[in-house]
């Protein structure tokens, strides 16, 4: 399973088919959702702190991913029982043991979007790495699911599943768990 942004779907599909894995596409409206479905990709609504409450209620029956990166956004993922929490920490840490426990209870998957790490400069990259080492330690303690996703728009920045699995192991996740979480089949709502 890999998570990417919407454009350009055909090339993304081509690369993901080569890697033989399911592709979850982050969408923001129904039009994008339809396009993703016609391209046999799995759509997932991207929600942020600024998403209005009535919109959240409308999307309650859909697959949802919350873009984290602040205390509020991370709490939103817990409140709405989102399927994915993307980038809960950046160069600052917003993740703790309590949050990990709540996410585990909801079955939310914590996702590291690899492109953000790749685009960061060497100083930011070290901050990211430090925060994610801590985050994975919490996830391991509370059995919260954690994966590394490509999180890109560029098909040439998609990373093979073996590489993402190795990154998760390098962050401290046991190899079997890293494989299990990545190979999990996704239910389309």
């Amino acid at each position: 399973m890999d998570i990417v942004y919407t454009q350009p779907l055909k090339e993304l599909l081509q690369v993901s088919t080569y890697f033989n894995e399911q592709l979850v596409v982050l969408v923001t409206n129904e039009k994008d959702e339809k396009v993703a479905k016609t391209n046999s990709l799995l759509p997932c609504y991207l929600i942020s702190e600024s998403t209005p409450e009535n919109e959240l209620q409308k999307l309650s029956s859909k697959t949802r991913a919350v873009l984290g990166g602040s205390v509020k956004a991370n709490e939103l993922a817990v409140r709405i029982k989102a399927d994915y929490l993307l980038q809960p920490s950046g160069d600052k840490q917003f993740f703790d043991l309590g949050l990990a426990q709540k996410l585990a209870a909801n079955g939310t998957i914590v996702v590291l979007m690899f492109e953000e790490l790749l685009k960061a400069n060497s100083f930011e990259r070290h901050q990211y790495w430090k925060n994610y080492l801590e985050l994975v330690r919490y996830c391991k303690q509370k059995n919260t699911k954690f994966i590394v996703a490509s999180g890109t728009k560029d098909p040439l920045l998609l990373r093979p599943p073996k590489v993402r699995e190795a990154l998760a192991v390098l962050l401290g996740l046991p190899a079997e768990k890293a494989r299990e979480y990545l190979n999990e089949t996704i239910k389309v709502k």
Partner: protein, 115 residues
């Protein structure tokens, strides 16, 4: 003055450091061996640092038709595979490095890759 050549002591097989070989393929276009070597080294060095890279001890054994066999210390295979995620471009050309197979011998990988 006569220079005496010292014969290198042969380390017995049982005492030699164990190694693993990993077969990688480079996706998206042709890459020259030199460019691959340079790009590979720079990115790994920036991610792992001198100490980390010395611990992994990677060596490019063979590079042929966009496939590379890279040797590393046993137990450090995952580190090497994870490190390749950071190789984004080689000579300003975007590439993806895909690990195919890990083995204890080069022969197996050569047979698998048909190189």
């Amino acid at each position: 003055m006569k220079i005496e050549k010292n014969k290198k002591a042969i380390v017995p097989l049982s005492k030699r450091e164990r190694k693993r070989y990993i077969l990688f393929e480079v996706l998206n276009g042709e890459v020259a061996e030199k460019d691959f070597y340079f790009g590979f080294w720079i990115e790994l060095l920036s991610f792992f640092g001198s100490k980390g890279l010395a611990e992994i001890n990677p060596k490019i054994v063979l590079f042929k038709s966009n496939k590379a066999i890279i040797k590393c210390k046993r137990g450090k295979e995952l580190d090497l595979i994870a490190g390749t995620a950071f190789i984004e471009k080689i000579k300003n050309k975007k590439i993806i490095i895909n690990p195919i197979l890990t083995s204890g011998t080069v022969k197996t990988l050569k047979e698998h890759a048909k190189i």
